[in-house]
């Protein structure tokens, strides 16, 4: 059993970041970052504004296929975790709807809402952002952010 149950206030408090991939843009230095923080991690300014990235598309910078999974994640193993550049921010999230062999550095990825964990059948369900290979067809990027700078 996992170390602790899901907390209702915490799920509620993080819902925009987890459901809409709400990042932050620093008004002082212009950087977009995720997760959002009270001060810009790059320049320290407190002047930030929310930027939902759920409709943006991005590029996979690196990934791993995790076989040794923590408690509660056996049913998701192997868990593919990726770090992508989306809308100018870097986002770490599981990669879904793809077999490990289909994942490639540089591939187009888009955020989707998925079940992340549910520690027991009677507890809360935590939803969050995962990344999947960009779907053919349709608008794709329409929200905040097209491409971005190269990787770091």
């Amino acid at each position: 059993m996992p170390l602790r149950p899901l907390s209702p206030p915490k799920i509620w408090r993080r819902r925009r970041q987890h459901y809409r991939l709400e990042a932050a843009r620093c008004r002082s230095c212009g950087r977009v970052f995720y997760p959002p923080r009270p001060h810009c991690p790059y320049c320290g300014s407190r002047e930030t504004e929310p930027v939902p990235l759920q409709l943006a598309r991005g590029r996979l910078l690196t990934y791993t296929v995790e076989y040794t999974v923590p408690s509660g994640f056996r049913s998701q193993a192997p868990l593919v975790i990726g770090l992508a550049e989306i809308g100018g921010a870097r986002v770490l999230a599981p990669i879904t709807d793809a077999d490990p062999e289909e994942v490639e550095v540089g591939m187009c990825v888009e955020p989707v809402l998925r079940r992340v964990r549910s520690t027991d059948p009677y507890g809360l369900i935590a939803y969050g952002v995962k990344l999947r290979p960009c779907l053919q067809g349709g608008g794709g990027g329409g929200g905040a952010g097209e491409g971005g700078q190269g990787d770091s």
Binding site: Y34, Y42, T64, V69, I81, G128
Partner: protein, 385 residues
């Protein structure tokens, strides 16, 4: 200008699965050895530990450990910085003595990891990462390092075979270390073919799970001259720097930028550069962590660490010799205690009584300890006087 601080005593337990020993028993074993070694009793205590809260349900470690060692009423603190707790605790103890507040402080790093199955320990280790945005998704600590390993190998054209030399060297070095958890020779091929943990990290890239405790006693010059070894091993420089916990907001993914910062400060304080270091104990939680540490400490250029290692650099006889103890990989990594093991080992190296692989005539030693995948970094430089 802070006052001079010396390491006057060192003690440690073997790293392993000590099912018969809990936190206090392990701490006592290391503490007693350190006090025996130093011949003085400390005025204060700093405990380094990461997982007592999550795995043992135990907080208040400063009080618990101090009182269990018969040191009631003395000042005692618990310092936590994930797997960088040890280095951060030494930094803290240094400041207590250098400021003149306390004449001596024992730093006890202690970790108990083997009471639960791997899945639960993996979950607890992941607390070094961001709870809401990394651990939330089931990303393990190995997974986060694996993200950096893939990027590093691709960007600099480093091969699996070149990376594999590190675990081989660690196991080789540990063979003569009586405190090491693993005493087994391995080959590059075995590393490359070992079980995948989080691709591309393999089992033999990863430090093992184990229990252990190490203790070092820091003292003022006045106290040091009264101790058995005298004012022999000086803390010449310290540096501590933090970064974001979350990988997504780092300024670079192919470096540990905070470690570079911590190193600059420690070198500057000691008046030394990377070329002056004879021996170093660096943080190889995973092979990639070692490579990035080598580069951050200035021992090799960006992207060069593994290539140079594979060609023979950093092995015994080289300057610096890296991880004669066998490092986190083979000496072991009782996470919160590791940073203290490093300082204990280097103290013995500089004194000439290290029971394992010795670096003869070492004058300058460097310990580099990392919490998380680069979120808290400490560099401690020791000098033989």
């Amino acid at each position: 200008m802070p006052a001079r601080v010396y390491v006057v005593g060192a003690g440690m337990t073997k790293v392993g699965r000590h099912f018969d020993k809990g936190l206090v028993e392990l701490a006592a074993e290391a503490y007693d050895a350190a006090v025996e070694d130093a011949g003085i009793e400390p005025a204060g205590i700093v405990v380094a530990n990461m997982m007592a809260g999550s795995l043992q349900g135990q907080d208040s470690l400063g009080a618990l450990i101090a009182s269990s060692l018969g040191l009631r009423y003395r000042p005692a603190l618990h310092v936590e910085a994930a797997c960088g707790s040890g280095g951060a605790a030494v930094y803290t103890a240094y400041s207590l003595v250098a400021s003149g507040l306390l004449p001596s402080v024992v730093v006890i790093g202690v970790e108990k990891m083997t009471d639960y199955p791997t899945a639960i320990v993996t979950e607890a280790l992941a607390q070094a990462a961001d709870a809401d945005y990394e651990v939330f998704y089931g990303a393990s600590f190995a997974a986060l390092n694996a993200l950096m390993m893939r990027l590093y190998m691709r960007r600099y054209g480093v091969s699996r075979d070149e990376m594999s030399e590190w675990p081989v060297m660690m196991h080789e070095n540990a063979l003569s270390n009586p405190y090491a958890q693993l005493h087994k020779r391995i080959t590059r091929r075995m590393v490359a073919e070992s079980q995948v943990v989080a691709d591309p990290i393999r089992l033999l890239d990863s430090s093992p799970i184990g229990d252990g405790a190490a203790a070092v006693i820091l003292a003022s010059e006045e106290e040091a001259v009264r101790s058995k070894w005298g004012a022999t091993v000086e803390v010449a420089g310290v540096g501590l720097a933090v970064d974001t916990v979350e990988l997504s907001n780092r300024e670079a993914l192919d470096e540990v930028p905070a470690l570079g910062e911590a190193a600059r400060r420690a070198y500057s304080m000691a008046g030394l550069g990377p070329g002056d270091i004879d021996v170093a104990e660096i943080h190889d939680a995973f092979t990639i962590t070692a490579m990035l540490s080598i580069e951050a400490l200035g021992f090799a250029g960006k992207g060069e660490a593994a290539k140079q290692l594979a060609r023979g650099r950093f092995h015994p006889g080289d300057k610096p010799t890296l991880n004669p103890s066998g490092g986190l990989k083979a000496r072991g990594h009782p996470v919160g205690a590791t940073g203290v093991y490093q300082v204990a080992e280097l103290t013995m190296q500089l004194r000439g009584d290290y029971p394992g692989l010795r670096v003869e005539d070492a004058r300058n030693a460097l310990a580099s300890n990392i919490g998380g995948d680069g979120s808290t970094t400490t560099v401690i430089i020791l000098r033989r006087r």
